[in-house]
């Protein structure tokens, strides 16, 4: 566990940089987290995915897989990988302040 500061607020993250407590997350933190993942600017489709991740996590207690993201977030798999080249489910979860999704698909 590490304490890092995003948008002027201290938050705890795990060894991989995922939030330990998703309630500590605010929208203002997202652009800073995105920069740590080499995403320069968060565009409207980025936000669409981030908000979807938050909503899915709130509803189900776990982040969605890429397949679910592609089917239900309104952003296609192809576009998801353009937005988050290092892995949409993983990177978007980190930026959205939710735990890393654990799944094989």
């Amino acid at each position: 566990m590490t304490v890092v500061t995003y948008a002027g607020t201290a938050v705890t993250v795990n060894d991989e940089g995922f939030f330990e407590d998703p309630t500590q997350w605010t929208e203002a933190m997202a652009p800073e987290i995105a920069r740590t993942e080499d995403i320069g600017e968060l565009t409207e489709p980025h936000w669409q995915v981030i908000k979807f991740m938050r909503a899915e996590y709130a509803a189900k207690g776990t982040g969605p897989t890429v397949r679910i993201l592609g089917k239900t977030s309104g952003v296609s798999v192809k576009e998801l990988y353009q937005l988050f080249p290092k892995g949409p489910a993983k990177v978007a979860a980190k930026i959205a302040g939710i735990p890393k999704p654990r799944g094989c698909i």
Binding site: T65, R67, G70, S76, K78, Y81, G87, A89, I105
Partner: protein, 155 residues
């Protein structure tokens, strides 16, 4: 040696359901982790990128001790289809896509999908027989060039 994997090239040589899924899951999983991935379909693995065969990949019910089904029973007509259908239903519940959707999704992740030239020639196929996601029919030499600097996985 680096402690992270940057690229994987996965060879698919089998045309059975249990021979194909591990490779697809590994390719898709690599992309999900931001790892570059290429799939190279050879020999009976070509069925996975064959337009009319991709929808009919079945589990091997004969000569497959892991299935715990007597070979005599596994050889009866329709048993392979029934077992395949049973597994497909279970996989759908686990959010594992059917093979055609999975291959399309893997292509959309930016993974490369290639067919082996020797196998395409052996089975008298042309690019028109293959699904649109196949980027090229390549030789083993071209495969090695593409795989250079990464891990190679044979399934």
């Amino acid at each position: 040696m680096s402690d992270t994997i940057e690229k994987v090239s996965i060879i698919v040589s089998k045309g059975s359901l249990e021979g194909v899924y591990p490779a697809l899951i590994m390719a898709n999983g690599a992309r999900a982790e931001g790892i570059e991935a290429n799939l190279f379909f050879t020999f009976f693995g070509l069925d996975v990128v064959h337009r009319s065969r991709i929808d009919h990949i079945k589990v091997a019910t004969v000569g497959n001790p892991g299935l715990h089904l007597a070979t005599v029973a596994g050889g009866l007509p329709g048993v392979s289809s029934v077992m395949t259908h049973y597994l497909e239903r279970k996989m759908e519940k686990l959010d594992i896509p059917p093979i055609p959707e999975f291959v399309e999704m893997i292509a959309d992740t930016g993974a490369g999908i290639y067919a082996c030239k020797a196998s395409v020639d052996l089975f008298d196929l042309t690019k028109d027989d293959l699904i649109e996601q196949v980027m090229d029919i390549i030789t083993v030499g071209e495969f090695y060039e593409m795989a250079a600097g990464g891990e190679i996985i044979f399934t």
